[in-house]
Symmetry: C2
Subunit: 498 residues, 2 copies
């Protein structure tokens, strides 16, 4: 086994080192040995990649001297600095592989929702007492609801307001967490999660309108593609959608639309390899509801094997039930000898030692294929080893963790530990709409410059991108095909920038 | 080798687990196996310790629900909350072993400096243009200096001011970093380090007055003893001291005084086992100055083997030269076949991948006995293994790291990773004066409640306290004697609180 050999080697090196510490060659060996363990540390660089690496290193040294250093401050304040960063521009051009952790209600930039969806005819808005909004498309004045009494036709309202762009900006504020004063506005996790959940509810009325849904999914794929992302695994609770006349489509309709839109997009963009869904249910649900969701996921996976990648539980982990509470439901596929890959959110918490914190180990016991966030994994040594041995990759979403107040300075993100050890991991964006990002480049920037520090290099970037194919749910033949497409794009990226 | 066996066991358990994940017994085994790895995870608790542990666990659950959770906010804001915490009160009573990482210029509470030292006759003060102060004891009006033109006799000045306690509070502000608005006052590391260095200079004029020095060292030991700390290793640059008549004592005088004061204190307090010094030089010094300091340390260790524990380089790591720069000086003892234990500050940085960051590996290559801070160690996997194999303990100083802006929420302190793996570590307070703490209880609180989370238990506390004896520089016979004294105190602590 590799690990024990490594341990023995370390002992020897250590003994040798302590008697021969003046030898610069031995020191270099140790430094190289340590560097070789990090993500991408085993990647051999071509001469062109080496040139790019030298460039990137110089850019990073320069960037680390900047005050403030963007990854050390809140993303909402850093965003402008990041957009101006030459490293960021380079990362935008880089083929980043797949986005494996994005939620369907937060896939598309909120600007699109405001500028496109809310400008469609028959769109009504209602401002709620708790400082949120609801949208609905309707042929006639919508009925008052418990949470919304006074509905206004948006086109009429817009005609009345003097400053339309200010009005649109105000709508935008309901649909994202973005603010100039994140520390003041979100003093703690409860407040930011409360607002976070409200933005989901606000967006829902727009997205679940069937015609919007089609365009929304298409726009989502386009935004990823524009950011040089070639594949998507989308967590979705499969909302039911509605037509203007009140017709309600069942959840399978959404799955079919997703399949259609993806097929069409792939046909139009041969360098985009596809999109799949991870069916999800809220972790605040009852055990019986989760059981029904598992049953449904099994059925839908049988019916749509190309689309349904697996299953997950979503929502704020500290508030919902832990995975172990749902053990009866989650062990159902195995008891029946059926296969349902799990992609559990686990350890998106800083409450060390609680039941929630225990989710990282339980996710592995339930044989998860990947772990969402795994923020707590770094201080679960056994779970970490199991995850590594089983190559259960961690989906790291740096900006989400910062905005949701798990960590302020991203250099302290626990993925720094995982990255230094070459733990299997991928970078994703979680909720681009709500977090004010698009594609994966912002999160790659934070992972590469902040979490990875000066040590992260072109090999790291290459491995992170390839990991997103390797650890995707794609079948082996499609993985191979995706790698070929990616390599071609990578080569031209390297030659353009080296 | 233990580690490889462990790895194999993990693999087996993992394989077993994935086919038998519904078995709660197996899950419990895994959870227990993981918990057994943490600091104190192997400590078998007596029935009384178990009762204390149950109490502490309930107190911690309660404390974790508090908003704000003290370890998650800046210590200067949390201090009041911590003082009211029943866990803190318990930790004050706990015999904590030794304080292995404290700097001599910041040993005693600043209140003592103001209330005692500045009230002595012949104390002059001068307010500098850069918002600092200088003190000097003198029989006549001190001469103007480049940094201080206008010296005032403090007793005269105090007679003039209306509100003496407000005046004393204003003096206190020059001698500590404490402020109600740490985020506003210290926007970044440079600003806080600048102020930090000024407080050292301000205190120096008081402490280096020979009569104050004697009382200061005695007060330092007393404060530790009152906080149930029984041993001290003090980092000191061995300031030269002065008498009122202008006589200057050489540095050996300070060493002798330290020895005398300690002997007397130990004689008066049989449950205090002693104090030693780690001779230090500033890392901004030239290579030749460091070499001279190493030579001097070797000589003083020969002359005062009971007092001189070893050698270190101090000052802001990011600004001084890296250890490797001083390789010629640092390898001098080994080249001569002499023994000079090293207790290097290493990795007190968040600049991953820089030369400073490399200090953690170099400290080990230079055969360090312990590592000061080691903040960067968690993402140096090879250095971490060497440190573990060689039992090179890390001196964790949580409050210092937070105040000096390496981390804001102490739950994200990298020692959480080390603690979960049972890495050899001790807790210390770095600079009690400047940080507004006294003894070790505040830092133990942060380590136990913040860094350790719900998982840290009585076994953790016991191991941390015992570690401070085990990893001290005391010879084996004195370690054994110290353990006997500690165990007696521990037993009565446990029986009083269980």
């Amino acid at each position: 086994m590799g690990a024990s050999l490594l341990h023995a080697a370390v002992t020897l090196l250590w003994l040798a080192a302590t008697t021969g510490f003046l030898d610069p060659t031995r020191r270099d060996q140790l430094m190289r040995q340590e560097a070789s363990r990090q993500t991408g540390g085993g990647v051999a660089l071509t001469p062109a990649e080496q040139r790019l690496d030298n460039r990137l290193h110089r850019m990073k040294v320069h960037e680390m001297e900047a005050k403030p250093f963007p990854p050390s401050i809140h993303f909402f304040k850093a965003k402008k600095l990041i957009r101006d960063s030459p490293i960021f521009k380079l990362l935008q051009d880089m083929p980043k592989g797949g986005a494996l952790h994005i939620h369907s209600s937060s896939l598309v930039s909120a600007e699109w929702l405001v500028k496109n969806a809310t400008y469609r005819p028959n769109c009504y808005v209602c401002f709620t007492w708790d400082n949120s909004v609801r949208f609905v498309f309707s042929q006639q004045q919508p009925y008052p609801r418990w949470d919304c009494f006074y509905w206004q036709l948006l086109s009429t309202l817009r005609a009345k307001v003097a400053d339309q762009s200010a009005f649109d900006a105000s709508l935008l504020k309901y649909l994202t967490l973005v603010t100039d004063d994140p520390d003041g506005e979100y003093p703690n996790q409860d407040v930011v999660w409360d607002k976070f959940e409200k933005t989901f509810i606000a967006a829902e009325g727009l997205i679940s309108h069937a015609p919007v849904m089609k365009d929304y999914l298409l726009e989502g794929l386009s935004e990823l593609h524009r950011d040089n992302v070639m594949y998507l695994e989308l967590r979705s609770q499969l909302a039911r959608t509605y037509e203007l006349d009140g017709t309600i489509h069942d959840r399978i309709w959404t799955l079919r639309i997703f399949q259609d839109v993806t097929r069409k997009f792939v046909a139009d963009h041969p360098d985009f390899v596809g999109a799949r869904m991870i069916l999800s249910v809220h972790r605040a649900s009852s055990a019986s509801k989760v059981k029904a969701a598992v049953e449904e996921a099994l059925a839908l996976r049988r019916e749509f094997p190309d689309v349904v990648a697996g299953f997950d539980l979503v929502g704020r982990e500290d508030r919902g039930s832990p995975l172990w509470y749902f053990r009866d439901a989650l062990s159902l596929p195995a008891r029946r000898g059926l296969d349902l890959p799990y992609f559990f959110h686990a350890g998106e918490t800083d409450k060390e030692g609680t039941e929630t914190d225990q989710n990282v180990l339980d996710a592995l016991l339930f044989n998860a294929s990947r772990i969402g966030h795994g923020y707590a994994l770094a201080h679960h040594p056994l779970a970490k080893e199991i995850s590594r041995l089983g190559q259960v990759a961690v989906e790291v979403c740096p900006i989400s963790n910062q905005v949701l107040k798990l960590v302020s300075d991203l250099r302290n993100h626990p993925a720094a530990v995982l990255m230094s050890e070459g733990h299997p991991l991928v970078i994703s964006s979680d909720d681009p709409s709500m977090l004010g990002t698009t594609g994966l480049s912002y999160d790659f920037y934070q992972a590469f410059v902040g979490i990875g520090g000066l040590r992260a290099n072109v090999g790291t970037l290459k491995e992170l991108a390839l990991n997103s194919i390797r650890f995707s749910s794609l079948p082996p033949n499609l993985k191979d095909a995706a790698k070929v497409v990616w390599q071609k794009k990578w080569d031209s990226f390297v030659s353009a920038h080296s």
